[in-house]
């Protein structure tokens, strides 16, 4: 069972930020706990800093101040080599899908598995399984350039979930999806939380709660997180 992810006085300012508002800090003094086994929804207007917060939680950036702790360990302060290893436990769905155009759908999905144990047979089986659960198995051999926006987003979701990570950061995971596919993604995220993963979803679409069973809803406003009743 993975432990909770915790923000302590977390603050972030882009290096070249305009310092007129909030002294340039996009995020400031965030103290929050994202418990294991729960889906936490973070909403907020565009530009509020939802994606940046997810990137910080996923270990893709270092905070300007404060820290992020996983299982009580200050992962945001770790040296690059240790953070690299910790990141293996994280699955991230980017807002911009960041798929590799030279690889086909299945190859994109299995990218996180390559440096780990197993071989092509196991990778293929795991990739097809997750694609199947997202109703995208028929896309396995297709080129990325041939996919629609919704299909690309489902492939990106499959890539994030293929290795059953302990920490899942999903940035607008249901964007461009029809209701049925949005529900599929929501169901998979719920299942991940039910097996004990920490799931953090960022979305500005208020309908997302219809598709994903959310345990906690936080709103990011003026650089701070506030609970939404």
């Amino acid at each position: 069972m993975p432990a909770a992810l915790e923000c302590r006085r977390l603050a972030y300012r882009y290096p070249n930020a305009d310092r007129t508002a909030l002294n340039g800090f996009l995020l400031q003094e965030i103290d929050s706990i994202f418990p294991a086994g729960q889906v936490v929804l973070i909403s907020g207007i565009s530009g509020a800093g939802k994606s940046t917060l997810l990137h910080l939680l996923a270990g893709l950036r270092r905070p300007t101040r404060g820290e992020i702790r996983a299982a009580g360990q200050p992962v945001s302060r770790w040296v690059a080599a240790h953070r690299d290893r910790w990141r293996r436990r994280v699955g991230i769905i980017f807002q911009q899908d960041h798929l590799v155009s030279g690889l086909n759908v299945l190859e994109n999905v299995i990218l996180p598995l390559i440096p780990r144990s197993g071989g092509p047979g196991k990778w293929r089986s795991m990739g097809l399984d997750i694609l199947n659960r997202l109703n995208a198995q028929q896309l396995a051999g297709q080129a990325i350039t041939a996919l629609s926006g919704g299909q690309r987003q489902r492939v990106a979701a499959a890539r994030a979930l293929v290795d059953a990570p302990d920490y899942i950061m999903a940035d607008e995971p249901t964007a461009h999806q029809d209701t049925a596919n949005a529900r599929r993604i929501g169901r998979l995220l719920r299942q991940a939380a039910d097996r004990g993963a920490v799931v953090v979803v960022a979305a500005h679409d208020r309908h997302v709660e219809e598709w994903i069973a959310v345990d906690q809803h936080l709103k990011l406003d003026n650089g701070t997180l506030q609970p939404v009743p």
Binding site: A81, R116, P120
Partner: protein, 382 residues
């Protein structure tokens, strides 16, 4: 090697196929560089080895009679005169010279068992009878009757009865071995006269000390050449042309610099992909291993093919035009001698010269990127 390692190699190969054009071009460049550098080094090595072999087979000293008009035949008493000098152990009058054949000048030599033993150590050849010839592989004759017409002091037509074996090509390439009677006619030598006198000495290293006394043993002026003179002559001849070969290295080094710069630039252009891989849980070590595997998959076969091509250029049929290009050989090029003990270090050297900067460029740029935060790489890459 574990199954996982094989799988990672397979994946590296798959990644290369995402940019087949660029990677093929890279392989071609590396292979061409390997060919250029190895050809120069191998040719130089082959010539040195070949010259050493030739000289080892030759006499310690060669005495030629000289006059104001140039070369003159040496008389029948010369052998006895040379053997009066202490330290001279062997004196052998030689009949040889250059005459015209239909395709150009050739070297003729009078055949005796000693000459055959020197030129064809692994083969038993019957010395040619009068009117017969044994010829080297660089000499062509066209008519079905296998007749070769030679033009010297007089014209002599001989029937070709045999060719020298390929492995003796170094020494016999443009040689026509004749009966002494035919050779004398072509060179205009009187009975008993010879072209020069080949001498063996008891201490080859001290051959030069015998020169003053030897020169005085003859009642006419002579020119005495030592083995060291011959070595210097060959070295100078090859050195003049070899300098041109060195010019190959300048563009080769420039190409290597450009190649390394290209690799670094390509790697930097790949920042977004490296950032993505890190975001997906690849460690810096995984990424460096992937990039090095990709570099080796491109570099090793390319270098192997380059080395093979260089070997073919120097030792294969194409030595004709590489010899013409780098050494100015106008006629058919002889087979050069290869010693594995000399060629292997060249192959290893070139592999190292090319692989080291190639891998260093890949490693350096991979390590720099691997140390960055994934999101920075993703942002900068886009």
């Amino acid at each position: 090697m574990t199954a996982c390692r094989y799988a990672n190699i397979l994946w590296a190969a798959r990644e290369l196929l995402t940019r087949p054009g660029v990677n093929l071009l890279m392989a071609f460049s590396v292979g061409l560089l390997a060919t250029m550098i190895t050809t120069g080094l191998l040719l130089s090595q082959a010539l040195t080895t070949t010259t050493a072999h030739l000289l080892a087979e030759g006499p310690d000293l060669v005495v030629r009679r000289v006059t104001a008009g140039g070369w003159h035949s040496i008389d029948a008493q010369a052998t006895a005169r040379a053997l009066t000098i202490p330290g001279i152990t062997d004196a052998r009058p030689r009949i040889w010279g250059t005459v015209r054949a239909p395709q150009g000048p050739v070297t003729i030599a009078a055949a005796d068992q000693d000459a055959i033993a020197r030129w064809c150590p692994s083969e038993v050849l019957r010395p040619p009878d009068q009117g017969e010839a044994i010829i080297g592989r660089g000499i062509a004759f066209t008519d079905d009757a296998r007749v070769l017409t030679l033009q010297g002091e007089s014209s002599v037509s001989v029937r070709v009865v045999q060719r020298f074996m390929e492995e003796t090509d170094l020494m016999t390439h443009d040689l026509v071995l004749l009966h002494p009677w035919d050779a004398r006619r072509l060179l205009g030598l009187a009975p008993g006269d010879a072209s020069d006198l080949a001498l063996g000495v008891f201490h080859p290293d001290e051959a030069e000390a015998l020169l003053p006394e030897l020169a005085q043993a003859f009642p006419y002026p002579v020119h005495i050449a030592t083995r060291e003179d011959a070595r210097k002559h060959y070295a100078a001849a090859f050195g003049r042309r070899g300098g041109l070969g060195l010019l190959l290295f300048a563009p080769a080094i420039m190409a290597l610099v450009l190649l390394v710069a290209g690799i670094v630039r390509q790697q930097i252009g790949d920042r977004a992909r490296v950032g993505l891989l890190k975001a997906l849980g690849w460690t810096s070590r995984d990424i460096v291993a992937l990039q090095v595997t990709k570099a080796l998959l491109v570099g090793l076969p390319a270098i192997t093919i380059g080395l093979t091509a260089a070997y073919g250029l120097v030792y294969g049929p194409s030595r004709q035009w590489i010899g013409f290009l780098l050494l100015g050989w106008q006629e058919n090029a002889p087979l050069l001698h290869l010693e594995a003990g000399h060629a292997a270090p060249i192959f290893l050297e070139v592999t190292g010269i090319l692989l080291a900067p190639f891998l260093a460029a890949v490693l350096w740029s991979s390590l720099v990127q691997a140390a960055s935060d994934p999101q920075d790489l993703l942002n900068r890459g886009n």
